[in-house]
Subunit: 213 residues, 2 copies
DNA sequence: GCTTTTGCATAGCGTCGTTATGTATCGCTG
DNA sequence: CAGCGATACATAACGACGCTATGCAAAAGC
């Protein structure tokens, strides 16, 4: 796979403008075609090729940016002494980020594997793993529990829920109803006490701006 | 939204040939373009327009066929006296069907809402609901449990897992590891006894040809 | 300060989905 | 069975797509 190198020189402003416009077109559900993209910025089609090597390169940059922004948002969450609450808070922020820009979220997972920096995509997952590990250390989860497995299940379930909501198979309200429920089910399965888990998940979920939604 | 009506006259053989070829191209990861599609059947591009009204119509027909085949496959499962086992069996068959043709599964969910017969897409879900309802009647699940909610959570979690596997974010082995685990977590959360649930899920999962995978 | 490299505008190529047009073939009716 | 409208499809062409060849001005390097 050929990986496009970003020019080391200055004038990466055009690059940023193109990506911003692509994200905006994605958000407004406009079809993101090469010509419509550059018409908005005043640049010519060649700009996309000098900066991204073509449309696939642009998509990869957009996906990368999506994961980077997501990682930044999740990194801004302040962890508490309750790792289960933190897991729910991460999930809530993750979901809110996805629903705030559904087209971008879908684009991100069009080809997750093909990124300039695969680490950016793994970062959110690692946050989940570390929280699950903390929960294990604090005896909330069983000593035999596997933090990676718990993180994987929580993530996969949330991803599925989000995808179904984005594709309008499930209504938006389904997410704040079922996401905490699945989270609780997974965490209790990992060993947490049910009532305590329910309180932690509830606290983490509403703590990240999903109240009432 | 304009819905294309299939011609009531005979000679729907061309229609079938086109759909079959489209499914085959999807399976072999060939890009499904109009011209490549008709070149394979000997027909001309117009055939796609008389039968489907255009490429979007073809995609809708393919999605419809995907859901119909899925519904047929799930309908072939013989239910037992253990509804929890049956839930797992449905999930296993669903997952096996999706992994047997990943491109088709992805296509199906590209626009689930836009189908000639939306009932075909709801049918698999209704099977889950009826099993969850049976589990409730048999006191496996709590009397206060909501069969639709349980079905939704099970389905969403499975969908997410499948999508991540299809997009090569998770390895194929992740599915037989995590799917039963999530299922158990959800069903226990619904009220089932943990050890009994684990046995039922295990029995249902391997009962549908996923053993070892 | 001249040469080389870089960044991008212009114009054109091949392919995409789509459509206008022409023409057989089918099915119905008198 | 003759006649005729509707149907099914081949042919050719259109606009828009992603992409590339070419040319030129600005920046970078010696």
């Amino acid at each position: 796979m050929y990986h496009w190198q970003v020019p080391k020189t200055a004038s990466a402003a055009v690059r940023l403008a193109l990506m911003e416009r692509a994200a905006q077109m994605l958000a407004t559900r406009e079809p993101v075609t090469l010509r419509a993209l550059v018409d908005g910025t005043g640049a010519s089609t060649m700009a996309v090729y000098t900066h991204f090597g073509g449309m696939p390169g642009l998509w990869r940059a957009v996906r990368q940016e999506g994961f980077t922004r997501l990682a930044d948002r999740l990194a801004g969450i302040e962890f508490t002494r309750d790792p289960v609450r933190d897991l729910a808070a991460l999930g809530a922020a993750y979901a809110a980020n996805a629903l705030a820009n559904p087209s971008l979220y879908r684009t991100m997972f069009d080809a997750v594997v093909d990124l300039d920096d695969p680490g950016a995509a793994a970062q959110p997952f690692q946050l989940l793993v570390s929280c699950a590990d903390r929960a294990r250390e604090q005896k909330r989860f069983a000593a035999t529990s596997d933090p990676e497995a718990i993180a994987t299940r929580f993530w996969a379930a949330g991803h599925g829920l989000i995808m179904l909501v984005i594709n309008e198979v499930l209504p938006r309200e389904a997410l704040p109803i079922h996401a905490p429920a699945i989270a609780t089910a997974v965490f209790v399965d990992a060993g947490d006490d049910e009532r305590r888990c329910r309180r932690s998940v509830e606290a983490g979920w509403v703590g990240e701006g999903n109240a009432g939604k």
